[in-house]
Symmetry: none
Subunit: 216 residues, 4 copies
DNA sequence: GATGAATGAGGGTTCATTCAT
DNA sequence: CATGAATGAACCCTCATTCAT
């Protein structure tokens, strides 16, 4: 699913962490960061390549050295969040045994990543909608993958269908909305607290035995 | 909140239900219906005025006799859903006494409207994101208004803050996601059943005493 | 071969010579004329849509109401010359009996059209090369078609292969070069006389019995 | 006519055939060869500096050490063919006495070079058209020079004006077209045979006494 | 000399909106 | 009121050329 679609890998013959590679990788990261920031603020359609380039401190042409197109850049952001989430999930789940513990690990992994990457969360959860057919499709594939993961856990925790599948999707939607709520006025809301509230709500909603723990 | 922005009431000399007025109101409705259908299918940015006009069986210029802009047309659809929802809510709530009954009335009113107006639901809940700054803002204002309404009921049902406010928003987000899930493949999913599942999930999540009733 | 590729036919429901149709057809003709003029002067790549639009006295967007793309506009010019040539050939040949008379009719038909449409000749014979793959291919298809026609006549006149086929192509190339010579300095050269010289040269070169007649 | 425009002689401190100079001259030749190959295949506009550099096994920047611009590189190819042709002509003519023998020597010199340098022939005769104003002009100057040479011979052979001048140009055009015909499908056509056919055709067309000899 | 990442002007194209008919 | 041809700003993207290393 994460082909090198978004590659246009800066043409360096060396792949090691040599100075050369680092320099151009830095550019790519800078562009990605700039894109993330502008996309988060403006959304997909209101964001022009020129703005991204400007935010990254380079020229328009430079953008196209690192990304084949605007869409591919956006896609890279989607994948970035997905990968971060997946890594976090795998890391946390490995330390757990009981189904509920695994589920909780997954959920909290997701929300922790969202907390750490709030701009990214906005981009993916809010602005991917209405971007481009291919991007929407890509995001949807990911969401389905992820929802299936959660649903699987829910089933193992004794939550019956269709509560499991629908509940998994609903949970994603609820989170997205909360991120949106927070994004509207970051100073006014405490994203961490809100996310915790949602987790607890769903935990109870799914009828799981224990209580969702307070965040550390 | 619903200024006459979206009215663009065709300058008819007579204000009564004269033939003239009726005719142009029909045109407006036809355009609105066309827009609803095309927006639901294509989303905001992939929809051109030409498509709307064609679907409505009139010329491009005519569109602008009834709506000042593409955005205002979309906005009219948002408001259409909002008004339908609000009317349904008021109607149902008036017959209820207990706080929980009132809350249930509100929630089911919303979902019933979504069911009746599935295209509209797609337009508003899915495609409003990423459309235009003003539209997003408008939708957000409405969502806040509505969430406050639900939160109020939740509080009266004994659900404490921040579960009430956050929960209300989460509920909206969950619904939107379920509509999205359904929209991806209408034949595959039963929107009514999924919505009911979500309702039940939240009802339990909020810790409300009784059970969410099966849909009639 | 001449599909409606270059259509984007101005959306008029009526096909008759009504006023409406005439107006937009005039625009199309004006654009075609402008394109012909600018392409003839600047060549394919140095010509921008903006220049064409300006020369036609309209905006850039208007160009795209009549042609789907720059390439299609150019293609329309190629086809315009081709059709003019083919019509002229058919008209003249029908009045002839002997093979040589038919051949002479064809050749003089071509050169007469080139004379009448000197800009078009420049565009097609000089600037089509190096334009775009698809256009070059299109032109080449036409040239082959046409060369085969001439070669056929040559065979019937007793000119053996490969003189016939190669000679037909060579004749086209020679004409193109003469048009080029003339185009470099229209005042300095008499295209008609030069073309006549070429005709006579080839007539003799093919070993045909009679002499190429002086132009009327 | 052949200013040092196209020299861009790499600033080597030593002017003799020192190792340094030889090395960089090799580079220049490699680039020229690469350019010739790519230009012949792709044409002027579809060829990028990157492709040339890659084909030559060096970096883009290196290209600009040897040529001031893409156009100048192309120009060097034009001149390369011109020089080859001129050298061949001078060599062959010196051995001839009769005007017709001299003419024949010139013509066959040209075609022999075209045969030896088929890629170059494609580049100059086919792809120079539509490249750039300056290049077209340059090529045209050369063509005129060359046509004047041939015309001079024709006059001395008794071919009267305007047959001589026009005929000379026509001959160039015919050759170019034949090269084009061949270039479209090298396997299908025998360039040597076609060129011979053209020579014979023109020889007869000019009304020259003897017959064009079969190629050795 | 050699490199290749960086540049940015310029190209083709789209589409919401207007206005003369 | 209705029309739909006309508009032109704005977009994404390319590529010849430069220059710091």
């Amino acid at each position: 699913m994460f082909s090198d679609h978004n590659a246009a890998s800066p043409p360096s013959r060396e792949r090691e962490g040599s100075a050369d590679t680092k320099v151009t990788q830095e550019r790519r990261q800078a562009l990605l960061a700039a894109a993330q920031s502008v996309f988060a603020r403006e959304g997909y359609h209101r964001t022009g390549i020129r703005q991204i380039a400007e935010a990254a401190g380079c020229a328009v042409g430079t953008f196209y050295l690192y990304f084949p197109s605007k869409g591919d850049c956006f896609r890279a952001l989607i994948d970035k969040l997905y990968q971060a989430v997946m890594e976090a999930i795998e890391k946390r789940r490995s330390a757990q045994g009981a189904p509920e513990a695994k589920l909780a690990a997954s959920l909290s992994a997701v929300t922790d990543v969202l907390m750490t990457e709030q701009d990214l969360a906005r981009v993916v959860l809010i602005h991917a909608r209405g971007s481009e057919l291919a991007l929407e499709e890509h995001l949807w594939t990911i969401q389905k993958t992820f929802a299936r993961l959660v649903a699987q856990d829910l089933l193992e925790c004794g939550v019956p269908e269709p509560s499991a599948t629908v509940g998994a999707h609903a949970w994603v939607g609820a989170l997205a909305e909360v991120v949106n709520l927070w994004a509207r006025d970051p100073q006014l809301h405490d994203l961490r607290a809100m996310v915790h509230t949602v987790q607890a709500l769903f935990w109870r909603g799914w009828g799981l035995p224990s209580t969702w723990p307070n965040p550390a």
